[in-house]
Point group: C2
Chain length 359, copies 2
C-alpha cells in the first residue's frame, strides 16, 4: 500500500520531527459546517452515524473544506452502550437519553460485551468507506468513550445534572460499579481493536467527564480503566497505532495520565501546555488546547490566540494542535479555516527544518 500523503499527525504522535505542527479539531465534522447541516436536514443524527456512506461523507468534509491533517470518524461515544443493550435516543434538544439506564447488579449482568463485527459492523464499514474516500491523503482516527464517561451516561441515563446519580451509584455500590466498568472496558478494548483491524491509523479515548471526580474516585473509577483499555489494546492490536487520551478537567493529574500508556495526552484549554510539557517530559506527545470559544471571536483574536498556544508548547516535536474541547455549533467556518491556515503558516518556526540541524 502506498504511504500516506500527509503523515504529520502520526509523526507528531510518535514525537518524531515534523516540518510544522499538525492540526485537526475535535468535532471538526459537525453542525458548524453548512455541508453537515444540509445532511442533517434530511437525516437524524443516529441515521447519519449508522449509515456508512453518510458517516464517511461527513468524516471527509473537513479534510476537503479546511485542509486539516487528520480525519476523525463521524460517530458517537454512545454506540457502545447501545451495542451493550441500552436503548438510546437523541432528544430534540440534542441531548442523549437512555430509556433503560443501569441501576442494579441485575442490569449489569444483562449487558453484553458486543462482538464489533456483529453489533458495530456499521462503524467498521464506515471506516472502510471513509478510507476509500480519503484516498490516503491524511490519517483516519478512530475513537471510543473511556469507561468512566460511558458509565456516567449508562447509569445517569442522560448528560444532565453533572451525572450526580452516576456519581452516587459509584460510591454506594462500588462492587457493582466495578463490575460495570469492567464490562465496559472489555467492550471498549474489543471495539478499538476492531477499528484498528478495519484500518484506522490511530485511536482516541474520550474521558470527557473524568473531571467530575474527586482524587480517590478519579484513580479508582477513571484512571484504572483507561489504563486497562490501553494495555489490552496494545497487547492484542494487529498493528501498533498511536493511542490518544482526552481526559477533560484533569489538568492537575497530568503526570498520572502520562503513565497510562497513552502515546498522546489531549488536554483541555485550562491546562498550561508549557507546564504539562515539563511535567510529562518525553513520555507523551501533547494535543490541544485552544479554548473553543476563541473561534466565536473575530479573526484577529483567532490568530492571536492560536499563536499563543503554539508559543506555549514552544520549540520541538510532539505537539498536535487541536481545541481543548469540540468545535461549538455556532462557530463561523471562516474562523476555523483561519485557524488551520494560521497553524500551517506560523508553526514551522517551532520546528527544526530539514538541513537546518546541521547548519
Amino acid at each position: 500500500m502506498r504511504p500516506l500523503e500527509n503523515d504529520l499527525f502520526l509523526r507528531a504522535c510518535r514525537r518524531e520531527p515534523t516540518e510544522r505542527t499538525p492540526i485537526w479539531l475535535m468535532r471538526q465534522a459537525g453542525r458548524y459546517l453548512p455541508s453537515y447541516r444540509a445532511l442533517r436536514e434530511r437525516y437524524d443524527f443516529l441515521t447519519l452515524c449508522r449509515t456508512p456512506e453518510l458517516a464517511a461523507e461527513i468524516t471527509v468534509q473537513p479534510v476537503e473544506q479546511l485542509g486539516v491533517d487528520a480525519a476523525i470518524l463521524f460517530s458517537d461515544i454512545l454506540v457502545i452502550p447501545e451495542a451493550m443493550g441500552l436503548m438510546l435516543r437523541i432528544e430534540e434538544s440534542g441531548g442523549p437519553h437512555i430509556e433503560n439506564p443501569v441501576r442494579t447488579a441485575a442490569d449489569v449482568a444483562h449487558l453484553v460485551i458486543p462482538d464489533p463485527q456483529e453489533k458495530l459492523s456499521y462503524i467498521l464499514e464506515a471506516i472502510r468507506v471513509t478510507q476509500e474516500r480519503l484516498r490516503r491523503r491524511v490519517p483516519l482516527i478512530g475513537f471510543a468513550g473511556a469507561p468512566w464517561t460511558l458509565f456516567a451516561y449508562m447509569v445517569e441515563g442522560s448528560g444532565r445534572d453533572d451525572f450526580r446519580r452516576a456519581r452516587v451509584f459509584a460510591r454506594e455500590v462500588p462492587s457493582v460499579a466495578h463490575a460495570l466498568l469492567e464490562k465496559i472496558a472489555r467492550a471498549v478494548a474489543r471495539f478499538l481493536h476492531a477499528q484498528i483491524e478495519a484500518g484506522v491509523h490511530a485511536v482516541q479515548l474520550f474521558d470527557t467527564w473524568a473531571g467530575l471526580l474527586d482524587p480517590d474516585s478519579f484513580l479508582e473509577f477513571s484512571l484504572t480503566y483507561v489504563r486497562r483499555v490501553i494495555e489490552t489494546v496494545k497487547a492484542a492490536a494487529p498493528r501498533r497505532v498511536p493511542i490518544l487520551l482526552f481526559s477533560r478537567g484533569t489538568a492537575a493529574w497530568i503526570e498520572a495520565l502520562a503513565e497510562t500508556g497513552a502515546d498522546v495526552l489531549s488536554v483541555d484549554w485550562t491546562c498550561d501546555l508549557a507546564r504539562a510539557r515539563q511535567q510529562t517530559g518525553d513520555r507523551v506527545a501533547l494535543q490541544g488546547n485552544l479554548d473553543p470559544t476563541v473561534l466565536l471571536a473575530s479573526p484577529e483574536v483567532v490568530v492571536r490566540e492560536a499563536r499563543k498556544v503554539l508559543a506555549r508548547f514552544g520549540v520541538g516535536a510532539g505537539h498536535i494542535f487541536n481545541l481543548g474541547h469540540g468545535v461549538l455549533p455556532e462557530t463561523p467556518v471562516e474562523n476555523v479555516r483561519r485557524l488551520v491556515d494560521t497553524v500551517k503558516r506560523e508553526s514551522p518556526q517551532y520546528h527544526v527544518q530539514r538541513g537546518e540541524a546541521s547548519r
Copy 2:
C-alpha cells in the same frame, strides 16, 4: 463585648491550634432545609434576600438545626451587579437573568460603584439583625462574588452556555473588559469593607467560574482582580478579619492562589487536599472539600467519605471542613446532620489536645 462561644472557625482560619476541625457548608442555608422551603412558599428568593429579618432567620437556621461552627449570611452574589445598575430577576427554573447585560464600553461607563450604605443597606441591616439572633454563639461570614465571576454574569446576562459570550467579550475587547473588572473590583472591595464594619467576622470571595479560563486569561481576568480586592480590603479594613477565597475548578493553580493574600483557600472536591497542603505550606489554611453528591448517598457513605477528607488533610491546624461546592437542593437533612456530627466526633484525633503536647 464578650467573646464568641465557639471561635473554632476563626482560629482555624488563622491556622491556630483547635481541639477539633470546624465545619460549615456552602449553601447551608437553603432549599434542602424544610424550614427554608416553608419561607420560600411565602416569599420569592429576592424578597428573602432583601428583607433583613427574613435573611437573618434563614442564616441562623443551620446553626440551630445542625450545629455548624459558622453562619454565612443568606444573600446572593448578584446583589452587586444589581446595585451597580443591572436589572436582575430570578427565573422560574431558579436561574438568574439580567435584563440589561453589559455589552459595550458605554454600558460599562453607565455602571455605578455603589455606596453600600445606600444601595446595599438591606444587607448591612441583615448582618446586624443576624448578629443579634446569633447571640455570639458562632462567627458570621460575609461574602461577595469575585470580579471575574460577577463579570461573567454581567456580560452573559445569565448562567447559561458556560458563559461563552462573556469569554468572547473578554478576548475581543480586553480594554473594555478590564474597565469593567476594575469597576467591579472597587464595588466588591467597598462592599466587603462595609460588611466588616457592620460586624461580620470573616469574608469569603466566590470565584465560582474561574475554572472556565485558560491559563493566560485566568491570570489576567481572575487572579489579578482577586488580588486587588484582597489588597484593598486588607489595607482599609476597620479590623483584620480572615479572607477566604473559593476559586472553583482551579486545582492546578493552588500555588498562585496562595499568593493572593487570602488567609484561607476554599477548594473544590477535585482538589487533592494533601497535595494542596504540601504546595501551600503554612501560607494559608484550607477549606473543603467533600463532593456535595456524597450527601445524596447513604449515611454510611457520608461517614466513610467524611473520614477520607479528614485523613487527607491529616494531622495539624488549618483545616476547615466544608463541601467542594454548595449543598444540593435534594440533599436529605439527615445526611447533613450526620456529616456535621461525624466531623465533630472524629476530627479530634487530627489535633493536638490541650495538655497533650507536653506529655
